[in-house]
């Protein structure tokens, strides 16, 4: 279908209606609300409860207007946020109708009767719709002389959201958001009349992953975020549009900076991605930068075995000397921007002359390498496909935990038209429960998919042998759309930038001579390395057996890979590019401080493959992006990569473009069911959205809403083990053990599930693997 045809179709499909508002005609699609039609004319009707993404409520009554249809006027003013336009409708707003104006002023007066004079201490002051509209549509002075209703203030409805009931105008935006958008109806309006108030259920605290949005959409200061409380006024803040660095959803964000420090982050506006929402991690997890000790100057490990501060030229020269002519590998990590990942990729190929580079700091498989090299970059599935999908299949992927905005999109369709959701998870997560997901244990048993179906594959599918192959098979056979959704923000971009052994930038296969020539010409080098490169664990292994001498590590937590990864770095030359002091800087020979997201410009690629660029928020920062530092090292080594700035890198990436030649065929692997020995259970795990992740450091309020770790087993298994709900289990492997309370769930008898990286449940550190056989006994 051409765009013209599509336009024609939408035009014929939607009936247009013309209404007269304040004497001006406006034509809008049928079903448009009067308040929205007025907006189109630039007429602003005051409102509190109305929100374009929530269902109309007509709760605050502030938007009253005079309406007349076919010459018959409504006897009283009507709420323009609940009435759709009709033919022959004549609307008179406060601008032309004295009745509407008086009605609005009256409502404003009612709302202000019990509203406390908190403006000087209220966080909303200065950006408050109630303040603004009381100025524009209210009385200059109050006539109320009685005693205002008071409530205890503030009430913490979760560790990160505070409720001040006195300030509430009962617009029900927060309760509607929680119910309609997030599917977490943990807050509700209690009581009636003057005592009506927002409240939480006693047994269910407001532990929604999306609770921050209620703070953002609250039209008064009734809901405020604990971490931003009393911190600043809007006029203090410099707002910068940015992109979220936490997951691959790709949210547009707004970062508010005061004197070189991030004070808060808000969801940005992008209808095609996050609409106007984001998750609590994106909103509140930004203190990782200040909570740990920042690396402020380059450091070199001296003769005495200690790290000493050094000047930049010294450190660069030291790093270059340690890498030049040595066999070295590169571990990029999944958090790099596209430009930085490209820098690592070019640095490995040009300066180190190797294909030993990998961005995966997590469990993976050979099968995944093949999948990423051949299939992943060609996937064109987008959020729109989810909107139109007839079925959504989740494989090795928990949208609410691993890509929360994807979850919101699925939930939106689920709520609208009961979208069928199928999940291969061994146990239903809360997200799966909310989506009423149908559980399947074998991908091969999925049937009935059509070309409109969407298969969302997570990075964890790589942990099941042959599962990725089955997913590709399923997509090929049914024609369903396939998407690969990694958990980290940088992975898709790193793949596209060639930060993996098998691919050069733009998806060019290393094995293709023409692709190598292509890139070598663009990079002005004679040739590129041809030998097959190593992946993450292979690089680490090669370091221990001295097949490699040196390694460049950029923002990797070794514990995400394996519990021996850190010790594998010990005896080689380690160049660490880091923001803060970490376990890697402790073993590094050279530590080079790099800029964090707020201090640099760059871009991420979300799971759709679209670029989410962001600008420097702290413009006077002296910290440099990884790519700049790599470029300096390469210069010093005498093998320049010529990437002096992020902008230059972005230009080079754009000029290089994507590979349009022959692709590697995906070699499928046959599925192998894990064998479970007698008396053992098969453990699976995934990360919860809020856990011990490094980027969530230093935000205790956020951590307060993290879900508690528990081991989930079936009812009959619990009976066999003789444990009741809440009693402790000891889960052990050859390498270690965990102790967790039991949560009885509906699942197979030989399965056990634990969170991957939560408090008391750090699976890689404690058990040595993320899925495998464990011995489970009552603790």
């Amino acid at each position: 279908m051409t765009p013209e045809q599509a336009l024609l179709e939408t035009q014929t499909a939607v009936e247009m209606i013309t209404v007269v508002i304040d004497g001006f005609e406006v034509t809008v699609p049928k079903g448009t609300l009067v308040i929205r039609a007025a907006e189109k004319l630039g007429i602003q009707i005051p409102r509190f409860c109305d929100h374009p993404l929530l269902e109309p409520a007509g709760a605050c009554r502030q938007c009253l207007v005079d309406i007349e249809i076919n010459g018959r006027a409504f006897p009283k003013p009507q709420a323009s946020c609940t009435i759709p336009v009709e033919n022959n409708m004549i609307v008179k707003t406060q601008l032309t109708s004295p009745v509407a104006e008086k009605a609005q002023a009256g409502i404003m007066e009612f709302l202000l009767i019990n509203h406390p004079l908190d403006c000087p201490v209220c966080d909303k002051g200065g950006e408050c719709p109630l303040q603004n509209q009381a100025m524009s549509n209210g009385r200059p002075e109050s006539r109320f002389e009685g005693v205002k209703r008071t409530f205890e203030k503030p009430v913490a409805i979760s560790s990160q959201v505070l409720l001040d009931r006195e300030r509430c105008v009962l617009c029900a935006r927060c309760t509607r958001f929680s119910e309609q958008i997030a599917g977490d109806p943990f807050i509700t309006l209690n009581e009636r009349g003057a005592l009506q108030q927002v409240g939480i259920y006693e047994e269910d605290p407001f532990e929604s992953y999306y609770s921050g949005n209620t703070v953002q959409i609250c039209p008064v200061g009734a809901l405020t975020g604990t971490s931003y409380r009393f911190r600043a006024r809007p006029f203090d803040l410099v707002s910068v549009d940015s992109a979220c660095e936490h997951c691959a959803s790709g949210c547009a964000m707004r970062t508010d900076i005061r004197r070189g420090k991030t004070l808060r982050r808000l969801a940005g506006d992008d209808a095609s991605v996050n609409e106007e929402w984001n998750c609590d991690k994106g909103r509140w997890a930004f203190k990782y930068l200040t909570s740990r000790e920042r690396v402020t100057s380059p450091m070199i490990r001296g003769e005495d075995g200690e790290l000493h501060e050094a000047s930049w030229p010294e450190a660069i020269a030291f790093a270059a000397k340690g890498l030049k002519g040595k066999r070295a590998g590169v571990l990029v990590g999944g958090r790099a921007t596209v430009e930085d990942a490209y820098g690592y990729s070019k640095f490995a190929r040009v300066a180190l002359g190797t294909n030993d580079i990998d961005f995966r700091a997590r469990p993976y498989s050979e099968e995944e390498t093949a999948f990423l090299s051949s299939v992943a970059l060609g996937l064109k599935t987008t959020y729109k496909d989810i909107d139109k999908a007839d079925q959504v299949v989740l494989l090795g992927f928990e949208p609410e935990e691993e890509s929360p905005i994807v979850f919101l999109r699925i939930y939106k369709q689920f709520r609208k038209r009961a979208l069928t959701v199928i999940s291969d998870a061994p146990v239903a997560s809360r997200g799966s429960v909310k989506l009423n997901a149908k559980s399947i244990s074998d991908i091969k048993t999925i049937s009935g998919l059509t070309a409109k179906s969407v298969i969302l594959v997570g990075e964890r599918l790589a942990e099941k042998a042959g599962a990725l192959s089955s997913a590709v098979d399923l997509a090929e056979k049914s024609g369903a759309k396939l998407a690969w959704i990694p958990r980290r923000a940088g992975e898709r971009g790193a793949l596209a930038a060639g930060a993996i052994a098998t691919l050069l930038p733009g998806g060019r296969p290393v094995s293709e001579a023409s692709a190598r020539v292509d890139v070598a010409a663009a990079w002005s080098v004679d040739s590129l390395p041809t030998n097959p490169g190593r992946s993450t664990t292979e690089i680490l292994h090669a370091l221990t057996v001295k097949n490699l001498d040196a390694v460049v590590v950029g923002g990797v937590d070794p514990l995400d890979i394996s519990n021996s990864a850190l010790s594998q770095l010990l005896n080689s030359f380690v160049v660490s590019l880091e923001i803060t002091h970490s376990s890697v800087t402790a073993v590094a020979d050279v530590v080079l401080p790099v800029a964090a997201v707020i201090e640099k410009s760059g871009s991420f690629q979300d799971w759709q493959g679209s670029t989410r660029t962001f600008d420097k928020a702290i413009t006077d920062s002296l910290s440099r992006s990884d790519v700049r530092i790599l470029s300096m090292i390469a210069d010093e080594m005498g093998t320049p990569i010529n990437l002096p700035t992020v902008a230059a890198t972005a230009r080079e990436i754009a000029a290089l473009g994507n590979w349009d030649g022959k692709k590697i065929a995906f070699e499928k692997t046959s599925e192998a069911k894990p064998v479970i020995a007698e008396g053992k259970l098969h453990l699976t795990s995934w990360r919860l959205l809020l856990d011990l992740g490094t980027l969530q450091d230093g935000e205790a309020n956020l951590a307060g809403t993290a879900r508690k770790a528990s081991a989930r087993i079936s009812k009959s298994r619990a009976e066999k083990l003789g444990v009741n709900e809440g009693e402790f289990l000891s889960i052990s492997s050859d390498l270690g053990s965990l102790k967790l309370p039991v949560e009885i769930s509906e699942m197979a008898d030989d399965q056990i599930w634990v969170p991957r990286n939560s408090i008391d449940s750090q699976v890689i550190a404690n058990l040595g693997f993320v899925s495998g056989q464990v011995t489970v006994v009552k603790a």
Binding site: C119, P120, V121, P154, R229, F230, R231, R233, D236
Partner: protein, 200 residues
């Protein structure tokens, strides 16, 4: 055009003929009486009371409402009136005020209510003493004293911190942090019902 002053540049543009036609009037000749008037004023002033003050040996009080250095006031029990709302900073036309708020806790209370000003700076290199900040203050925490001796040898010293601006502790006042008077709320403070003394 006769007596009006013409710009010099225009003089240069005049032709010789035009110059010849321009009437030149001797103002001095006609103003002798006016000169006498001027000297008379000088002469009379000799016999008037001298206004010169031998500052700094002698200091005279300023007008009662003179806009001098600011002061952050306290309630009678010593708690600070400032709630850190930043309205003063907002009102300031010279961007001379910087405030950062913070939450009062039960263990560490500086002001009645939930919020207090943790950081309070006034930059007297910028301040124009207009008093808009005083008008903006919702709790009368910020007022101006009559103190005008605000000179110093470095720029840094002219940025006054909260401790420089806070009113001195009078008798019966206790240095915060300390709790509110038992049985009272911030409302009682705002209404001015707290009179002297503190529970300590």
């Amino acid at each position: 055009m006769d007596n009006s002053l013409t710009p010099r540049s225009n003089d240069l543009g005049l032709t010789a003929a035009a110059k010849a036609n321009t009437p030149i009037k001797s103002q001095e000749a006609k103003s002798f009486g006016k000169q006498l008037q001027g000297f008379w004023v000088t002469f009379i002033t000799i016999f008037k009371k001298v206004n010169t003050v031998q500052y700094p040996e002698v200091k005279e009080p300023t007008a009662e409402r003179f806009h001098g250095r600011h002061q952050l006031n306290r309630y009678d029990d010593g708690l600070e009136k400032c709630i850190g709302c930043e309205l003063c900073a907002w009102a300031c036309p010279a961007d001379a005020i910087l405030v950062e708020g913070e939450t009062n806790t039960e263990d560490e209370r500086y002001s009645p209510g939930e919020r207090y000003g943790k950081v309070y700076q006034i930059n007297y290199l910028r301040c124009v003493f207009c008093g808009l900040c005083i008008e903006a203050c919702p709790t009368r925490a910020l007022t101006m004293t009559n103190e005008y001796e605000l000179a110093d040898e470095s720029r840094a010293k002219l940025i006054f911190e909260k401790e420089d601006l806070l009113a001195p502790l009078k008798s019966g006042m206790l240095q915060p942090p300390h709790p509110m008077v038992p049985g009272t709320t911030h409302i009682d403070y705002y209404r001015g019902d707290i009179k002297g003394g503190s529970n300590g």
